[in-house]
């Protein structure tokens, strides 16, 4: 089992898809950092110089706030559209590395060879693990790179709430971390993004038995994500806090998100994915 998992992992992380997803993610983080440096940090520093030049009795004197790491990190930077783009394209980043591999291997006949040599259970579980981890890494990479780059010019201290630049409010999930230990908040939320990258990456694997079109299989998670983000959210706004397309964003787009809620939804989705994986592979035994 270990040998098959290692092989699948190597294949996943050395695939062209992973390289494309990783480079795209890094590029997005770099461009966003350049934008944030020029339009947030430099503007803020110019304002500081202006404020310091005013006389003490001037009504504008004394009103300046330092820019903090969370204002530059792509996960919580909401001055530009990079955050929205990243979280809209998240399923695409996740499926690019390796999600389509089983589809290709069934088509080429390689999968059949593996089933005979290693057994269905070993092969499918190893494949699912490699897809989950590579998809999660591809989704989390832009966030980690952005955090690292932001830390190179913004201090890793919490936002002063009086500046009104905080996207996470006091009553929201992990607000204490956001205000007091922002790096820990970013890393913890990147963990959630990793999980959902993995979850999205698994979807094409579950579709292999039912979908014939390669492009359709690849794009399906993104369509599902858009449906959750636009359709389900607008139809059932009262359940927005339990909508993965909403709570996966570290900016916490809606009120009422709780860690318990995220865990419950994630466990339910993983159970459904596990069941579908089992069902789709059971069905092939009869074919």
């Amino acid at each position: 089992m270990k040998e098959v998992i290692t092989t699948e992992m190597k294949k996943a992380f050395r695939s062209k898809g992973f390289l494309v997803a990783a480079l795209s993610g890094v590029l997005l983080a770099v461009i966003q950092t350049i934008w944030a440096y020029q339009n947030i940090y430099q503007v803020n520093m110019k304002e500081r110089n202006h404020i310091l030049g005013l006389p003490v009795t001037d009504e504008h004197y004394g009103s300046w706030f330092q820019t903090y790491i969370m204002q530059g990190w792509i996960g919580c930077e909401y001055y530009s559209s990079f955050n929205q783009f990243l979280f809209l394209a998240l399923p695409l980043f996740a499926v690019l590395p390796y999600s389509i591999s089983l589809f290709s291997e069934w088509k080429s006949g390689y999968a059949m060879q593996m089933l005979v040599r290693r057994g269905r259970k070993q092969y499918i579980i190893s494949k699912a693990a490699a897809i989950f981890i590579s998809g999660g890494c591809a989704a989390a990479l832009p966030l980690l790179v952005s955090l690292l780059l932001s830390a190179c010019y913004l201090p890793a201290i919490g936002i002063d709430p009086i500046s009104m630049q905080n996207v996470v409010g006091n009553s929201m999930m992990w607000s204490a971390l956001f205000f007091e230990k922002p790096v820990l908040y970013a890393i913890s939320y990147t963990g959630i993004v990793f999980l959902y990258g993995g979850i999205y990456a698994e979807i094409p694997l579950l579709c292999v038995g039912w979908m014939e079109n390669r492009f359709g299989t690849l794009i399906f998670p993104m369509l599902l994500h858009c449906m959750l983000f636009y359709g389900v959210y607008n139809l059932f706004p009262e359940f927005a806090a339990y909508n993965p397309a909403m709570f996966v964003n570290p900016s916490q787009l809606v009120f009422g998100i709780t860690f318990r809620g995220i865990v419950s939804v994630t466990v339910a989705i993983l159970a459904v994915e596990g069941l579908l994986l089992w069902l789709s592979n059971r069905r092939r035994d009869f074919l």
Binding site: R48, I51, L52, V56, T57, D58, E59, Y61, G62, S63, W64, F65, Q66, L148, A151, C152, Y153, L154, P155, A156, I157, D160, P161, I162, S163, M164, N166, G169, N170, S171, S175, A176, F179
Partner: protein
Amino acid sequence: MKRKKVLILIGILLAVTGLGLRIWYVNTHTYSPEIREVPQGQTAEYCGLSYTIVNAEMWNSSDFYTQHPELTDYQNPNIPADEMKLLVVEYQIGKVQEANKLDLYIPIQYVHLFNGPDPFMTQDMNPSLSDGNFQSGDTVVIPYEIYKANLSEAQWKDVENGKMEYETVLGTYPVKTEMKIQDIRYEGGKGQ
């Protein structure tokens, strides 16, 4: 091949060290303001004016509007009375120099929140200032609305029990003056 690997390793080590040093530098050269804490009753100066907190009262929303029926227009009917409180702070304002504009937007901060006052309600609570003139020594009463929805359960309990710490903030940089609101009278008593 081995030499290439060593060179890559050295490159990685140099990059990590460089990044680490840069991050260390950024975090040791921040533009954090000097925090000046002023206990209640003492005077703080800001923008040519002096401010002293002379009184602070915490009201249950329903009690406050019963006591001040002329202000009921400001009562939000969509928020249950027991999910909102009003902290009414009385400031004595002095002129450090003549010809100064009185800015009544004086926020308070508590936990990870800040409240600015409702400017219209402030205006109605200070009719003597409506002509735009004020004298040194005049008092200004500013109401701050505190909502349960913005706080966690534990924090709201602290508000009810009188354990929450509030500060008036005057200026944010280069000096952030925090005037402590320590002596608060709880109209209707504290919660249990």
